[in-house]
């Protein structure tokens, strides 16, 4: 487990450049992940906005079935 802890991949950093932390022996023990791309963020935000707006949509469903044979 200690070894795993040294292999932390931090994602809380800012900026696009990946920063590395090395151990005394020179091994990379952690890297900072860049944020997701702008285009991916826009797609995700569009989905969230659309789902939020949809949640209050009150569309009518007539559900009326018109028989093609006229009542006698």
């Amino acid at each position: 487990m200690k070894l795993m802890a040294k292999r932390a991949v931090a994602f809380s950093g800012k900026g696009n450049r990946r920063s590395e932390v090395r151990s005394n022996s020179g091994d990379v023990v952690s890297v900072k992940l860049a944020p997701i791309t702008k285009s991916d963020r826009k797609i995700i935000q569009d989905i969230v906005r659309w789902e939020d707006e949809s949640a209050t949509s009150d569309l009518t469903i007539s559900g009326v079935w018109k028989s093609r044979v006229a009542p006698q």
Partner: protein
């Protein structure tokens, strides 16, 4: 008062040249003899014929408690002109057993193909029939029964069918039809979905209470449908296709396929082009065409902008019940894609532009049902997973020296990945993981799995990662990304990733960081979930 008609119990052969058209339907279906008006029962007969029906059993079921309740409620709501006339209810059970068979009825269960309970009563001054309830076995044919190729029916259930006083069990689909007096399409759709989720068969009276009023005369609305599901303890999510997503109308196909592949019951709401009738269909399953061209070609020909392929792109039909035409139809995506070319007016009461006659279906909304406490939708989870995938891959490469061929292929070739997204319980995933572990004969450390188990919530989105040919040919995957089910708010999208597995590595989130550890699962493995019994 209505007079009772009393059909006698009998078994009849229906092997050819017996004609359902001429010998069966006119005897028990009392609506005008019109192909469209008797569509539901006619289609059940057709399914029975396709499955090799040899005989059917007719019995009078007017005294069954649920039928009595249904008829009583209709009688309360009948038109003034309909105070006299005849009422009846028959169950017609189709079997693959010869009418001359001398074997005991106890063996009937494995031969039952379908059952339709037809209720007939006076409506608008003439007899009217409808399928009150129907049960149809998962379609298949032959001995042993071979199910249909590439058909997936997550909504199929173990059904109980009563024939001449004995209950039989079969795996199939439940169906019901609106009668136009106490029920409309919304009632039928809710009844089918609730039965799929809980085995409960809601009465017409209860359905009307849930839909809050006169849904037959006055129609209903999407929010009333949502409220009905919430009262039943379900978690509905409403999608409005008349609203634009990111400046354009959304493609309902992707959303519906993602929902049904994720195992979520879903309803499609659409408007017919010509007569402005809104209709609701429950979606039961889907068919896959693994030879589909566009998932492979879309990248080459720049046909789409997304950087990944959703597994739903191999879905060529949705399997639906249409309560006006019958159970287990395949709805082609061409019918909904055509609809996108017809402009949907912002005012849903306004007439749609475009052709007035024989128009396509205009999808207006969908409702999907998720397990409780799931706030992030399948579509959202899939896009979050793809966004994270692009960052995690180089991140892991920067910290671990992995050289297995599938890992290097993902990293070096940067292929367009396939994502398949389903909701899953943690314990079920770990059962699946243990099978992968055994199959690969590798040694995945218990501590790593323990840490992953601790990091994952009890229910989460499982976004399986594959490649087009691996998906189509092997139904196999190279890894997974686990997305939390809720909440929908985040500061950093990567927060929603609770863990991941790529070839040769497992990662999990703890205290705002991801921890990674090599593992022995370096190759591909079968996708999780229901498989069609017959696959290509």
């Amino acid at each position: 008062m209505w007079r009772r008609s009393n059909a006698k119990t009998k078994t009849k052969s229906c092997e050819l040249p017996y004609s359902f058209y001429h010998d069966l339907i006119p005897n028990f279906w009392h609506s005008p003899v019109d192909e469209r008006e008797r569509g539901t029962f006619g289609w059940i007969c057709t399914l029975a014929r396709k499955m090799g029906a040899k005989s059917f059993i007719v019995e009078n079921v007017i005294d069954r408690a649920d039928v009595q309740q249904e008829i009583g409620f209709i009688y309360e709501h009948r038109d003034a002109e309909d105070h006299t006339g005849e009422v009846g209810a028959v169950a017609i059970t189709f079997t693959s057993r010869s009418a001359k068979s001398k074997k005991s009825l106890s063996e009937l269960g494995k031969h039952i193909l379908a059952q339709a309970i037809i209720v007939s009563y006076p409506r608008h001054g003439r007899p009217h029939s409808y399928v009150f309830e129907g049960n149809v076995r998962v379609p298949g044919r032959g001995k042993p029964e071979a199910t249909l190729l590439n058909n997936y029916l997550p909504m199929a259930r173990d059904l109980t069918v009563r024939v001449v006083g004995t209950d039989y069990s079969l795996k199939g689909i439940f169906f019901c039809q609106q009668n136009g007096t106490t029920t409309a399409c919304a009632h039928s759709a809710v009844k089918v979905v609730v039965h799929g989720a809980s085995d409960e068969k809601l009465s017409a009276s209860r359905l009307n209470d849930l839909l809050d009023g006169d849904a037959v005369g006055g129609g209903t609305t999407t929010l009333k449908l949502v409220a009905a599901f919430e009262r039943l303890g379900m978690r509905p999510t409403l999608y409005d296709f008349t609203k634009r997503r990111g400046g354009q109308l959304d493609n309902p196909w992707t959303l519906l396929c993602s929902a049904v592949e994720a195992g979520s019951p879903a309803l499609l709401i659409f408007r017919t082009g010509a007569e402005q009738i809104d209709h609701v269909l429950p979606i039961l399953g889907y068919t896959v065409n693994s030879d589909e061209w566009h998932p492979h070609a879309s990248d080459l020909y720049r046909l789409k902008e997304e950087g990944f392929v959703s597994s739903s792109e191999w879905i060529d039909h949705l399997i639906i019940n249409d309560d006006l035409t019958g159970p287990l139809y395949c709805l082609s995506q061409s019918w909904l894609k055509q609809a996108r070319s017809t402009k949907i007016p912002a005012d849903t009461k306004a007439k749609p532009r475009g052709r007035k006659s024989a128009g396509p279906l205009i999808p207006t909304a969908a409702i999907t049902l998720l397990p409780d406490q799931v706030d992030i939708s399948a579509t959202l989870a899939e896009n979050l997973a793809y966004a994270a995938f692009q960052k995690l891959l180089p991140g892991v490469d920067g910290i671990l020296d992995l050289n297995d061929r599938w890992w290097r292929y993902l990293l070096d070739k940067e292929p367009r990945p396939v994502f398949r997204t389903t909701i899953i319980e943690k314990e079920r995933y770990f059962e699946h993981l243990s099978k992968m572990h055994d199959a690969s004969h590798s040694s995945t450390e218990d501590e790593t799995l323990g840490a992953l188990r601790e990091a994952l919530p009890s229910v989460f989105w499982l976004c399986e990662i594959s490649l087009p040919n691996l998906y189509a040919g092997n139904r196999a995957k190279l890894g997974e990304i686990f997305i939390r089910p809720s909440p929908r708010k985040w500061k950093n999208e990567l927060e929603t990733v609770k863990g991941f597995r790529f070839p040769g590595v497992i990662g999990w989130q703890k205290d705002g960081n991801f921890f990674v550890e090599p593992c022995g699962l370096v190759s591909h493995f079968r996708l999780i979930g229901q498989s069609a019994q017959q696959e290509w």
